[in-house]
């Protein structure tokens, strides 16, 4: 086992979230019609943090959570442990949905989340916000908002919480 290495501390995370919140507002010229959708499990806390920041800077936006486990492309290949039940209590037709996840890796979870989101309606646009982009994409998926680009090797494990980002 590789020893755990902290690459971002709690303050770094807070600053990254604040910056991403500003970027989301800027990119969309305000937050009219913007909703945040945290991907189960890891994106949910981040979506909540981003929503808090956006509300502080501009106006509150709707936040939901999405469980994409029934849309994964590796069903049957390994145990699936769904997170909490999806909670999208708003209409996604015509909105700008910002999918939020903690770590972007192969892109397969985001692909599943895109499919899942489409079953709730037809957003005007979908954007992607991640705290960490660790590379090694296996699908043509690119984040719109990134907290930190973090070169890793495929065998490493990256965890990203409000307490910081750790590689192990």
């Amino acid at each position: 086992m590789v020893a755990a290495k902290q690459v971002l501390g709690p303050d770094d995370v807070r600053r990254a979230v604040t910056r991403m919140a500003h970027e989301i507002i800027e990119r969309n010229r305000g937050v009219d019609g913007v909703v945040l959708v945290g991907i189960q499990h890891g994106g949910v806390w981040l979506a909540a943090s981003l929503a808090e920041e956006i509300a502080r800077i501009d106006t509150p936006v709707p936040v939901g959570s999405l469980d994409a486990s029934l849309y994964r492309d590796d069903i049957g290949l390994r145990p699936v442990a769904p997170g909490a039940v999806s909670d999208l209590s708003f209409d996604v037709d015509g909105v700008t949905a910002v999918l939020v996840d903690d770590v972007l890796f192969t892109g397969r979870t985001v692909r599943a989340a895109l499919d899942a989101l489409a079953d709730y309606g037809r957003p005007r646009a979908v954007q992607l916000a991640v705290l960490v982009d660790r590379g090694h994409r296996e699908l043509p998926i690119r984040p719109d908002f990134v907290g930190k680009n973090l070169p890793t090797s495929t065998g490493e494990d990256v965890s990203a919480t409000a307490e910081g980002v750790v590689i192990s």
Binding site: L70, Y71, G76, T106, D119
Partner: protein, 328 residues
């Protein structure tokens, strides 16, 4: 290696029941959407083999499989080669050779799904066999109580009475077992003629023939279907007498606690085991049982066919797993 099957509640145990009920929450959320369908079981084939008519159960399983995007086939014995003398084993092996991931089996003979599980590599889901077991009914019953009473932690302290023809009831066998596994206290209410021989501690927590003594104290009143032919077997003198002793009459409905759930596996014999309009009972969850049946059967199908683990990956698939790496 043979795939995992759901033949009885024993195959799950209490932790397995909780796992399926948690999954059922996800499935119920899918079912609430305008487009209630997910791609989870794309490419999987589920074959309903019904050697005994049961349109309700068959439709429920078929809907469940379709909402998970599985392909479905239906084999009904009435239209089949069984009448031409083909054996059960031949039938199963022939269908299995077409490439089936799961058989959903209904059979009038106790134990038939267990035999079938021994003849095929596919998963086998028992959709009711003889007097023996009906595990998905037990799961949907548990799910219905859990959602109606918001009891996600288990059924400790829950008092349930199950009333009627327990002897001939696969529903009773599975539902009593599941509720007891989750911690409920289950009393079986029936005359001796409708009880299994040697009914004892292994079967239920208590046995009585006096419904009035406990009806005011139960959290769940579960009524079983009373079949008309039982009269001819001298099991009860008449349906009228059965209703008098064991039916949910207006008098008894008035004795129910305000929170008491009233359940029935369907189809109901109105005027026999239930002599009031269930729509007028505040605690009746009989319709919810049917609705929940789909989510629970989706959960069972996904648990067996989609959750990985027990299904041995092919060499190619194993490579995919390695390149995919840990979850993002």
């Amino acid at each position: 290696m043979s795939a995992r099957s759901l033949l009885t509640i024993d195959d799950l145990g209490s932790s397995g029941i909780m796992r399926v009920l948690d999954l059922a929450d996800h499935m119920a959320e899918v079912n609430r959407r305008p487009n209630p369908k997910v791609p989870a079981l794309r490419g999987k084939t589920v074959c309903n083999v019904f050697f005994e008519d049961s349109t309700r159960t068959r439709l429920s399983f078929e809907t469940a499989a379709k909402r998970l995007s599985a392909d479905t086939m239906t084999f009904a014995a009435s239209q089949s080669s069984i009448n031409k003398g083909e054996s059960l084993r031949d039938t199963i092996e022939t269908i299995a050779a077409m490439g089936v991931d799961a058989f959903v089996v209904r059979h009038k003979s106790s134990g038939a799904p267990q035999l079938i599980a021994g003849w095929t590599q596919a998963s086998v889901i028992n959709a009711g066999d003889g007097w023996h077991a009906h595990p998905t009914q037990a799961l949907l019953d548990a799910y219905t109580v859990r959602t109606a009473l918001s009891r996600t932690g288990g059924f400790d302290g829950l008092r349930m009475a199950i009333v009627g023809d327990v002897k001939h009831s696969r529903v009773a066998r599975s539902t009593v077992q599941a509720f007891r596994m989750l911690g409920a206290h289950v009393t079986v209410v029936a005359p001796r003629t409708l009880l299994p021989p040697d009914v004892g501690d292994r079967f239920a927590d208590a046995v009585t023939d006096r419904l009035d003594d406990l009806i005011g104290d139960v959290d769940v009143l579960y009524l079983l279907r009373m079949q008309h032919e039982r009269m001819h077997e001298a099991l009860v003198p008449s349906l009228r007498e059965y209703t008098t002793r064991f039916g949910l009459t207006p008098r008894r409905a008035a004795m129910l606690g305000p929170q008491t759930l009233v359940m029935h596996p369907g189809p109901m014999n109105r005027g026999v085991e239930i002599a009031v309009d269930p729509a007028e009972l505040p605690g009746a969850v009989i319709t919810q049982q049917v609705t929940n049946g789909i989510a629970v059967r989706m959960a069972v199908l996904f648990d067996l066919l989609g959750s990985g683990g027990p299904i041995a990956p092919t060499t190619d698939a194993a490579t995919d797993v390695t390149t995919e790496g840990p979850t993002e």
